[in-house]
């Protein structure tokens, strides 16, 4: 039987003082044989995209992180199964914990998948990982960033308290941003005992927490057991990931690169609502789902014919303005996973019935969470239908890469002046945000005015096509 070992590779600090890197891609798969210094992954740090060379010759036993993941320095990213003899690739047997490659003994006959079970951390943190500051507690004094008191809580749960799950605990009212006053050896003692110094009353001079305070604290765990549990329900923390993370990034990027202008127009849509009623009664539209959104979308596609400027894109890389001669109409959709903006390809070529079908399909697919990536890319202009929530107007943020977005408000009955007399009419607010880098107020205003004109008098379409 050939004796093998599982050796782990932990993400090193690839720059000077970096704390994390993103795995862009793996160049190897589980089961692959790798040679020393063979490129195994591509990783992006805050400073550069770099290739990671394998520190071992052997077989890839497990890849612990997926591409696209941002990994903290010092975290295990890949395990190798190597011959015991193979360790000579690193010279002689490496000094324990010296460097990022960490070895763990494994039974020679263990299957490759057993690597996952070998999760026990090295006895000492690697010296060079996160150099400049020790990554985790190694028995040396560790400085904790001020103002991150809450974050530090989950890392030191009190063992005697089953309820003190790693839920973030709000600061006590009296807590300051300063860490509790104590001395490094006492801090270490508290850390070793799993005691959070925030919870320990200090009896030393000036409230200093002494060794006795910490030791006394352990013997009376019941005095603190209530506090974290009682407070734990006052906030819920959810990791920022997936669609939320993507949405946030897209919104920030859009808001801070495209100078937004938002214009509002409130229009009397009584005629449109009457038209909608007539169309619904038309046999040709039996079985089609028609809503104010359908008509508004069609109206928008018509208004774009004379105002193509708003259906465009700022191409920063090429320093060009791209005006689209087609319309991929994005519809903001609230899905279980969060906000997505799938688009209807070549919407300007569709008849009202086709548009209705496409809208229904698009929203159904989005709500089922099955929107394909191709449906999410390539949009040229968007609609967000905030009216369904009973909202009148807003200042929508552009879908990145597009120059305009229209928010449709709720259709409500309201007093309105008709022929110099007050009347109760159905009224709707339109909000148009546009990218002022490439759309001027004139062009945005004309587009919004045309859209309003159609919705207040659908016959105006005759003048536009």
């Amino acid at each position: 039987m050939t004796a093998t070992m599982i050796k782990e590779f932990r993400l090193p600090d690839l720059g000077e003082g970096l704390t994390e890197s993103e795995i862009l891609s793996w160049k190897v798969a589980v089961g692959d044989t790798v040679t020393l210094n063979q490129v195994i992954a591509e990783v992006e740090t805050a400073k550069a995209v770099v290739e990671l060379p394998s520190p071992f010759a052997g077989t890839v036993a497990a890849l612990h992180e997926q591409p696209g993941t941002v990994v903290e320095v010092g975290k295990r990213i890949v395990s190798f199964e190597v011959d015991d003899a193979g360790s000579s690739n690193r010279g002689s047997t490496p000094a324990a914990g010296n460097g990022s490659a960490v070895e763990t003994s494994a039974n020679g006959s263990a299957p490759a998948g057993a690597a996952d079970a070998v999760g026990s951390p090295a006895k000492r943190e690697p010296n060079l990982v996160g150099y400049g500051a020790v990554v985790e507690h190694t028995g040396r004094p560790t400085r904790r960033a001020r103002g991150q008191v809450q974050e530090a809580h989950p890392k030191a749960p009190v063992p005697e308290q089953p309820r003190s799950a790693p839920v973030a605990v709000p600061e006590p009212e009296t807590a300051s941003a300063e860490r509790p006053r104590s001395t490094p050896p006492v801090r270490k003692l508290a850390r070793d005992l799993g005691i959070d110094l925030e919870q320990v009353p200090g009896t030393g001079p000036g409230g200093l927490i002494t060794r006795e305070d910490v030791q006394g604290f352990t013997s009376t765990p019941e005095t603190v057991s209530e506090a974290p549990a009682a407070r734990g329900e006052r906030e819920t923390r959810t990791a920022i990931k997936g669609v939320r993370k993507f949405t946030a990034a897209a919104m920030v990027q859009s808001a801070f690169t495209a100078p937004h202008v938002t214009e509002f127009l409130t229009v009397d849509v009584t005629a449109t609502m009457e038209l909608l009623g007539r169309i619904k009664g038309n046999k040709a539209f039996e079985g089609y789902k028609l809503t104010p959104l359908t008509i508004a979308a069609k109206a928008m596609l018509v208004a774009l014919r004379n105002n193509p400027t708003v259906n465009s894109r700022w191409d920063e890389a090429n320093q060009e303005i791209v005006q689209f001669n087609y319309v991929n109409l994005g519809i903001a959709a609230a899905t279980p996973r969060g906000l997505t903006v799938p688009n209807i390809k070549d919407a300007d070529q569709l008849t009202l019935r086709e548009l209705s079908t496409a809208l229904t399909e698009l929203t159904d697919t989005a709500r089922a969470g099955k929107t394909s990536p191709s449906d999410l890319s390539g949009g040229t202009i968007s609609i967000t239908n905030i009216g369904v929530f009973g909202i009148d107007a807003g200042t929508p943020i552009l879908n990145p890469g597009e120059a305009a977005i229209v928010a449709l408000g709720a259709v409500r009955k309201a007093p309105w002046v008709v022929n110099d007399e007050l009347a109760v009419r159905q009224v709707m607010s339109l909000s148009l945000s546009f990218d002022h880098r490439l759309v001027d107020g004139e062009q945005g205003s004309r587009f919004l005015a045309d859209l309003g004109a159609i919705l207040s008098d659908p016959a105006m379409v005759m003048t536009m096509i």
Binding site: K47, P55, P94
Partner: protein, 389 residues
């Protein structure tokens, strides 16, 4: 670009309006080249004599050294990516400049390098572990400077030129025939230290050689922005004679360095050598040159690769036999393996080691601090040991 075009007799005819007269302190033509990028030996009336002793065996030996230091560079870069070194400044592309110059030195000459001269350290006789340990963060120095007459790598840009000049002035007082050589880069010529060093070197006619590896990039700053004249014309303003050589041509570098060292030994004063080369890698492993550098530029310089050029010359001469190729490869493999093992097996420094090299003689104040720190560490109830250093 006013930097790298090879050619001779650039100062032909009478200078036109706005053109300066030939610079009498510049020698070697516009760019001294003895081996073309295609591997052809180019004869030069003035400089051939300085390399006439370089026979077949020496050529193979230069090739071996250049190949080995490129391998050291690749292995160290990999070690950094594997978390075994904190940082590494690659020398890729500068092998001829480093080997040609360092192989021209005598053992008793004294060298003041910057941080990129790992190839020079190898030639001077630094152990591989000594080259690695500073970059691993295990020590604040690499080797004993007195053992190999090589100062510790200087991180501060250009300040070693002052140290070299001062050392050279000391050599003058000793009346020795030792020469001093300072390495720095193109960016350093814009620093005050280098300019001050040239003032002193010229004033005292100190036996120092300023060896500038113009690798075209001061991190992300291109040399053409830093200097509106060729770098070799900067020292002539101080009255220091200069040469501009193809830094990727190991023969030209050797010839120029030998001329300069000879001048220094004979009381002829300082010399400035601009070795025109190219940093083919990043500034350090923490840098990403694709963010500021045109990839076409890298391609152009790959065609002028210093090792490839010597490889072609050796092949043309029929010197690159299987034996030679195998010997060079075996040497490079062995050096890389030794670098790796000596780096990984290096003992960690111990906390109290930090006090060891503050003073060369016992010092009560340091002892007191050491005692305090020791007691502080003991308050963690952990054994405190002095390490291997």
């Amino acid at each position: 670009m006013l930097t790298d075009q090879a050619g001779k007799g650039v100062h032909q005819g009478t200078p036109g309006p706005g053109q300066s007269a030939p610079n009498p302190l510049r020698t070697g033509g516009n760019l001294l080249q003895l081996v073309s990028p295609e591997g052809d030996r180019i004869s030069h009336p003035e400089f051939d004599v300085w390399v006439k002793d370089i026979g077949d065996e020496q050529l193979c030996s230069l090739y071996e050294d250049m190949t080995v230091i490129r391998r050291i560079d690749a292995e160290a870069t990999a070690l950094q990516r594997q978390g075994e070194l904190a940082l590494w400044p690659p020398l890729l592309g500068q092998e001829a400049a480093q080997i040609g110059s360092s192989r021209s030195l005598r053992d008793d000459d004294f060298v003041f390098p910057s941080y990129r001269e790992s190839g020079v350290a190898y030639v001077r006789g630094a152990h591989l572990s000594e080259i690695a340990r500073v970059w691993r963060g295990n020590a604040s120095y690499g080797w004993d400077p007195q053992r190999i007459n090589l100062a510790t790598p200087q991180i501060i840009i250009g300040s070693q030129s002052l140290h070299a000049t001062g050392y050279a002035m000391g050599v003058q007082l000793d009346g020795a025939s030792t020469a001093v050589l300072a390495y720095f880069g193109d960016g350093a010529t814009s620093e005050g230290d280098v300019n001050e060093a040239m003032v002193f070197a010229a004033s005292y006619q100190a036996p120092v050689v300023f060896f500038c590896q113009n690798n075209h990039w001061a991190i992300s700053e291109p040399v053409r922005i830093q200097s509106h004249v060729q770098l070799a014309d900067r020292p002539t303003g101080f009255g220091i004679p200069s040469m501009r050589v193809d830094g990727n041509d190991v023969m030209a570098v050797m010839a120029a360095t030998r001329v300069a060292l000879d001048r220094a030994r004979k009381g002829g004063g300082p010399t400035f050598i601009e070795a025109v080369t190219y940093r083919m890698g990043p500034h350090t492993t923490a840098d990403d040159p694709t963010r500021y550098r045109d990839p076409n530029e890298l391609e152009d310089w790959a065609a002028k690769d210093p090792i490839l050029r010597l490889h072609k010359l050796l092949e043309a001469k029929g010197l690159l036999t299987e034996d030679v190729a195998a010997r060079v490869k075996a040497k490079a493999d062995a050096v890389a393996a030794e670098l790796r093992s000596s780096c990984i097996d290096m003992p960690d420094p111990q906390p109290l080691d930090v006090f060891n090299h503050v003073y060369s003689t016992p010092n009560s104040w340091i002892e007191r601090q050491k005692d305090h720190y020791s007691r502080y560490l003991n308050s963690f109830n952990q054994p405190v040991e002095e390490g291997a250093l």
